[in-house]
Symmetry: D2
Subunit: 366 residues, 4 copies
Amino acid sequence: MAGSSFGNLFRITTWGESHGKGIGVVVDGCPAGLSLCEEDIQKFLDRRKPGQSKFTTQRRESDTVEILSGVFEGKTTGTPISMMVWNKDQHSADYSEIASYYRPGHADFCFDEKYGFRDYRGGGRSSGRETIGRVAGGAIAIKILEQMDISILAYSQAIGPVSIDPARFDPAEISKNKLYMPDATAAAKASAYLEKCLQEQNSSGGIIECQIFGLPVGLGDPVFEKLDANLAKAILSIGAVKGFEIGAGFGVATATGLTNNDAFCMENGHISKRTNYSGGTLGGMSDGSLLFFRAAVKPTPSIAATQQTVNKDGKEIEISIKGRHDPIIVPRAVVVVEAMTAITILDALLSNMTARLDRIIDFYQS
Amino acid sequence: MAGSSFGNLFRITTWGESHGKGIGVVVDGCPAGLSLCEEDIQKFLDRRKPGQSKFTTQRRESDTVEILSGVFEGKTTGTPISMMVWNKDQHSADYSEIASYYRPGHADFCFDEKYGFRDYRGGGRSSGRETIGRVAGGAIAIKILEQMDISILAYSQAIGPVSIDPARFDPAEISKNKLYMPDATAAAKASAYLEKCLQEQNSSGGIIECQIFGLPVGLGDPVFEKLDANLAKAILSIGAVKGFEIGAGFGVATATGLTNNDAFCMENGHISKRTNYSGGTLGGMSDGSLLFFRAAVKPTPSIAATQQTVNKDGKEIEISIKGRHDPIIVPRAVVVVEAMTAITILDALLSNMTARLDRIIDFYQS
Amino acid sequence: MAGSSFGNLFRITTWGESHGKGIGVVVDGCPAGLSLCEEDIQKFLDRRKPGQSKFTTQRRESDTVEILSGVFEGKTTGTPISMMVWNKDQHSADYSEIASYYRPGHADFCFDEKYGFRDYRGGGRSSGRETIGRVAGGAIAIKILEQMDISILAYSQAIGPVSIDPARFDPAEISKNKLYMPDATAAAKASAYLEKCLQEQNSSGGIIECQIFGLPVGLGDPVFEKLDANLAKAILSIGAVKGFEIGAGFGVATATGLTNNDAFCMENGHISKRTNYSGGTLGGMSDGSLLFFRAAVKPTPSIAATQQTVNKDGKEIEISIKGRHDPIIVPRAVVVVEAMTAITILDALLSNMTARLDRIIDFYQS
Amino acid sequence: MAGSSFGNLFRITTWGESHGKGIGVVVDGCPAGLSLCEEDIQKFLDRRKPGQSKFTTQRRESDTVEILSGVFEGKTTGTPISMMVWNKDQHSADYSEIASYYRPGHADFCFDEKYGFRDYRGGGRSSGRETIGRVAGGAIAIKILEQMDISILAYSQAIGPVSIDPARFDPAEISKNKLYMPDATAAAKASAYLEKCLQEQNSSGGIIECQIFGLPVGLGDPVFEKLDANLAKAILSIGAVKGFEIGAGFGVATATGLTNNDAFCMENGHISKRTNYSGGTLGGMSDGSLLFFRAAVKPTPSIAATQQTVNKDGKEIEISIKGRHDPIIVPRAVVVVEAMTAITILDALLSNMTARLDRIIDFYQS
């Protein structure tokens, strides 16, 4: 199936494997008139590129983006924007071993069964490098949302057993530590925890939290195209994400109507809510409050410690995965969460323009 | 936007409001040749209809389904299957009060802002009755999956603070208690808890768990159409669901690669996994293990206890919602989770048929 | 495949067979706030219903539409509008003969091969009655377009060898004769021709022409979603249509650039065109001129004259199709062409709202 | 809107402008296991590249395709195949003049109105170079269809007033003359006619015909996804195409049921048709006969002769378009028609796999 596109009116189509010639994305449906240059994209890609710290793979990739179409005289034209990054570090390794067995926690086995064989070089299409296209596409969505005073902030909420302390929450801290935690103390603890993981040839999971500010009321549709449902798909489509919750999330299970309902109130002449257990959506539509959700990210499956598995000949074997791998996926996935969120929100914003006949008539008469 | 359809090759389109003439669904893309009669659908609808116990609304609806098209001489023809249920209990109440304010935890406010006004009778399109179309469509998907030896089992995993004890897990128990819990002891405790909620004019949240048996390897696509991502969307599209997790779910945050990776092994000559923390998918594709996930369901927002809110004139008021409402959504949503899961799985199963050229050629040559 | 939906933002999903319980449509994505009642729909259905003249089948159907959802207090709510017509004349005939062979010019054979069997009662899903859903959905689109000063006019341009004379073109005449021809003289001749067809147990083809007034510039997209491409699909999706041409159409084959290019000029301070060989689109986008196209409609395949065919046992036989059938499809298809055109235009109008960033920002700031 | 994708299960997404960095396509949903190399694509691109004869533009482009992803060890992997061609001849010209006015027969005016401005270099996204992506994607579809014994043959049926003589039809001739006419005599006449057009600084229209051999019965769906409707959209989405007809096409208007119905008959033990006025589809589904259709292509709008138009300041002016342009679009569009046809057919072939439950069960059990 054609499963490499995301979004309806604003749509990205990604392509590329970790050890192919490159990785890219076509952004279709981008409105005309947005100022756009490669630097707008690059600054987001730089946040996910490897080699930023000891906790990220040492693969050497500059991941320099090139805009191939859709921009003329510095502005988007309304036609598809094709962007790509050439893979530099694509030839070196010997993959004969990895080709011969199924790595635990990876999709190798599923690829072989589904497609009959697989591109076994570094994860192929399931590599983390696949997210380059998402981030490049998301960078455009974020730039558009900014012009509508909508902003997105994601960060590491927990790394292994170390969670941030809400009392110490400081957004300015996020970009100061390599773990993208908005709490310097937690970041230090998490760093120590990851050192230990590395020494033990092990890896760690964590949680990413994302906040969206400035949403108008009414984004999302009441039934299948609920805003939260589309966000859930967007976030679960990121490799290694195993859970999604919005607002009080799984906490609602033990809540009651009295504790979980957010009372409406008046605030500066506008309707607002006293609390925000809903996390910013009601009935699948944005309710004008801060929208926030969390994503659970599993530990990097590629670890150097010895593991048991099966080879292609159906023999049980022991393996130890070579090469340096990130001991944690969370920090580099933060910008991917922002990107997928932005695409989802922008798409909802565009489709919402057709909800009311009076506004449509106004649009065409003005 | 056209947001009332779900699925690609097997697609349902639902319609109807709680107090309109009826509720219905068009199932498009159903393969030809399936034996189908109204009883096949009715038995699923009966599991979600009101009035089954003291914990469900006393609204009197028989919810009798009628198949209007797509079946000829007892078999599906490959053309769209239209099904509907007439609303019986649609005229009685006086809605002038509910029309005048915004119920906490409901979408009233969002509807007014998005569409300019709303159908305020009993929740309109956001009523729980909207799920009738999902369940009717899902009943067809379930019947098809059964013929491929794929089965789906959902149940209440937790109601408020009462969770099932895995040691007492008994699938036969699910249909014996009104709470759809696979643990009689937990069901009794949960029942007592709900009694208390009722007395306090309050309501409870809970968790639904779902298991899918018999999936072939390879359903779902590696990037945006991951099987788990589509399940997340399917489940979050059900009203009141605030979280989704698959396999170890949010537990992966504190796990490590060594504890979370599932070792592959050989079992009766087939490749299998020693553990199943992944919950049945790897890289977005089914991995041949049991697929299981959990959904967090918020407490019924309609409660009789006094609540604060705002009316349409922007005045802060106190309200008490009249009428009998379910003190818990979970039990009646169990069959809705099964339905949405079945539709998602079937759609993935159909699209997976085109993954390999050799199998396509075989298909047309045989 | 799910092939019963048309449109993206404004989408219809039709269902029903000629001899099933009824025929219906779900209109999804209709903007909120449109005044709508059953009479708005009925007046269009009345134009396609049988029994209007001696040239239409004598099947007795009142085809009374019922709106089942999506309208509250006389206005569309933004939720799906379900409409249906009950089949009255559904039980009488004996279909054992028609079930046993393949009618020339009909899809009987294709249904059997594709689906394994077929609903042989009166054409099943391929009956002309299938267009009821299209016309009901189109009636809503037409009503919306009217409010934006866009109108659609279709008529019979030719019936068999009788074409209208442009010099006698009179739109007021269209509804005066049963053939929907804008030329009384041609209508009279065509009527005589059809009488002869009837006597000879034969049928006639013809051409429908359609004009769209008041389109803004820029509807449609430059590549695959060209406005003319979507119109072509819309029109060719109507049973019996075998050709589509826009503007000069097939006449361009013998034209030259000098004769076929439309010179731009100024007219009352606006940019206009001196001629309109393009038929109202350039590069797939509406150019602000009258949009017009023609559709070729084949003769009714059901004729009483003796024909050769094959039965299900693979034996060559001679048949004579019983019952009264329309000797011409064209007049009743005129309103279907209008309906499909309106849906296509409205969908393009909605999606065009997202073309420019400045207009999107304005939309959300006002 | 996102309007640069075509196809559902097998989907192409194209990008690029005539004078941007390059032109490309992402092919998503290609089944795994197809042997594929750049030469498979290049041979089709060579048929549309410029500079082949005096009747094609002298722009110097080698149009060498590069496969960037989706192929591993010579076989498609099931992941998206990204292909691109770098533009070589992209910088030379001075476009200040063309930027200042609206060329008759071109989309310049529509672009400015829809998007607020345009990429005025050589037609931008509406350039004929846009078809490179279609042809590259179509080359893959054609290779797959070949393995299923389905072949596609398109050719110039008419150039200006010169049509081929069916009695002289010779497929081997198509690749022998630069006009892709299957009739050497007609090709010579057409060549002389085009010489005259060139001398007169004028251009010519024409007709492309396309035949598809080897289709199984049942491709396409009965209502909106009719095979002929999708072909019509595919073909009308090619720039300059103004008409589409299948089988007898517009000829059906003057036909009768008796002359237009194709009698079924037995042929070598299979059901066949004595004639083929339907052109290979009945009720929107392939009927097992040769499928054939025609497309009307307008004369190249860029001509050197003096034309009247309007500039951006709203002043009426006279222009003469500089540079060498093809005096006819038809020959180079032949391969584009083949490509779009192949994509449409393949997509229908894949979706048809889900039509029957028994075959789905067989598929998964074998």
